[in-house]
């Protein structure tokens, strides 16, 4: 029985990752680049429904970035940022409106730093972080919260 739960958890995580990557790829130019609003980041609210989303989103982000222009660095660091953010969002899941802030913060700090240090974006570190934070805010609150509210109402139908 324990194995069954394990397999199910793992596959659920995998599919969430697939969803993330697929949606990122579908909305290609917008999802990438220095000025990104990654619609798929809205999926981070899935970690408010199941912990399987934590590793899943990490994997999804890894592949989405790997297959995009940023390459390996973006993939490695971006996925770490996503996982940390997802853990935070999961922990805060009962504080519905506050939860996505964990993702916003995690991405702002980590990806912001990545842009500043590795990609040498010629802006002060804080600006890089704020810039990424802004994109995340739009995705997580503009799209994510409505998505979360929607998922909550249709939870049974969807299978979450």
């Amino acid at each position: 029985m324990k194995e069954k739960v394990k397999a199910q958890y793992m596959v659920q995580a995998a599919v969430i990752g697939s969803l993330y990557a697929a949606i990122t790829l579908l909305l290609a130019p917008l999802s990438y680049g220095v000025m990104q609003v990654r619609v798929s980041e809205a999926l981070v609210v899935l970690s408010m429904f199941t912990p399987a989303a934590i590793p899943g989103l990490g994997a999804g982000c890894f592949f989405a970035n790997l297959l995009g222009p940023g390459g390996f660095i973006d993939a490695a660091i971006g996925s770490i940022a996503t996982v940390i953010g997802a853990i935070g969002t999961y922990r805060l899941r009962n504080a519905f409106y506050a939860a996505p802030m964990a993702t916003v913060a995690s991405n702002a700090v980590i990806v912001g730093w990545m842009l500043y240090y590795f990609y040498a974006v010629p802006l002060p570190l804080v600006s890089c972080m704020l810039w990424v934070g802004l994109g995340e805010l739009i995705a997580c609150y503009g799209l994510g919260i409505p998505l979360a509210r929607f998922l909550q109402s249709r939870r049974g139908d969807i299978g979450l």
Partner: protein, 268 residues
């Protein structure tokens, strides 16, 4: 835009010596290369790095135009960064356009940053050009397996990544089918303001999520039916083994790294 047209990944097929290296070697190599780029403190160092990566590119058989293509997405960044560095850096002025000054230090810094960024992109995109994502995942799993000691389930993680990768095209297809079915019922995914478009996505998102979790459930059941028990005692069909090629590559890597350190410490 046909969803089928999205080419997955940037793998450039080939049988070169670089293609055939163990993925662990390639991951390590990329990592080392990227580290050296941040150890370099003068142009001589970049000359060495450039020579190194040029050599690997040549060996891999990947056409140069593919490498250049990898720069396209960050072209804007390079230009923007260069301009900013040229004008904003303080120091001894060379040219003056009214209030704007280009300094010697600015030129140096602009060139340095631009070069580093380009080599960075070359290095990391080369990895994905010569390694299939699935092989990369295998390599990551192997590299992470020592972490099993601290309870990191490297196998499950890698298995999850493999499955996620494998289902990306499936979900893209599913999205295509759903979009077509709903469009045939008169759905409009294109027009309207942001809010209306978001609402209009519901006939796409609900079936997509339902399909995704249904696929997940079916797969979990199928794996269970084949006695999947997680990573314990699991063997591989295609073993991964280091060969002479990898030993050679690692030697070259060590030599390059040492040379980079030398150049760094030798300079003033």
């Amino acid at each position: 835009m046909a969803i089928k047209d999205i080419t997955l990944g940037q793998y450039f097929p080939g049988e070169s010596i670089v293609h055939r290296l163990d993925p662990r070697t390639k991951i390590l190599g990329t990592f080392v290369f990227l580290v050296t780029l941040f150890l370099v403190n003068r142009f001589a160092g970049f000359a060495l790095s450039a020579a190194f990566i040029a050599g690997v590119i040549a060996l891999s058989g990947v056409p140069v135009k593919f490498m250049i293509r990898g720069l396209r997405p960050i072209l804007f960044l390079i230009v923007f960064s260069t301009i900013l560095n040229l004008f904003v850096t303080a120091g001894t002025p060379i040219v003056q356009f009214g209030p704007l000054t280009i300094t010697e230090e600015g030129v140096y810094r602009a060139a340095f940053m631009a070069l580093r960024l380009m080599l960075l992109i070359f290095g990391s995109s080369l990895l994905t050009l010569v390694t299939k994502p699935i092989t990369l995942t295998d390599g990551i799993e192997r590299l992470m397996s020592p972490l099993n000691i601290v309870k990191l389930p490297s196998h499950e993680l890698a298995m999850m990544m493999t499955i996620a990768l494998r289902f990306i095209p499936t979900l893209l297809d599913e999205t295509d089918k759903i979009m077509k079915a709903q469009t045939a019922r008169g759905a409009d995914f294109e027009s309207g303001n942001l809010f209306r478009r978001a609402k209009g996505l519901i006939p796409l998102l609900v079936p997509l999520f339902v399909s995704a979790f249904r696929i997940a459930g079916d797969l979990a059941m199928a794996m269970e039916a084949r006695c999947y028990r997680g990573g314990k005692g699991r063997t591989r069909m295609n073993g991964m083994a280091f060969s002479g090629r990898d030993a050679g590559a690692l030697c070259v890597l060590v030599a390059y790294f040492a040379a980079t350190i030398y150049l760094r410490t030798m300079g003033g």
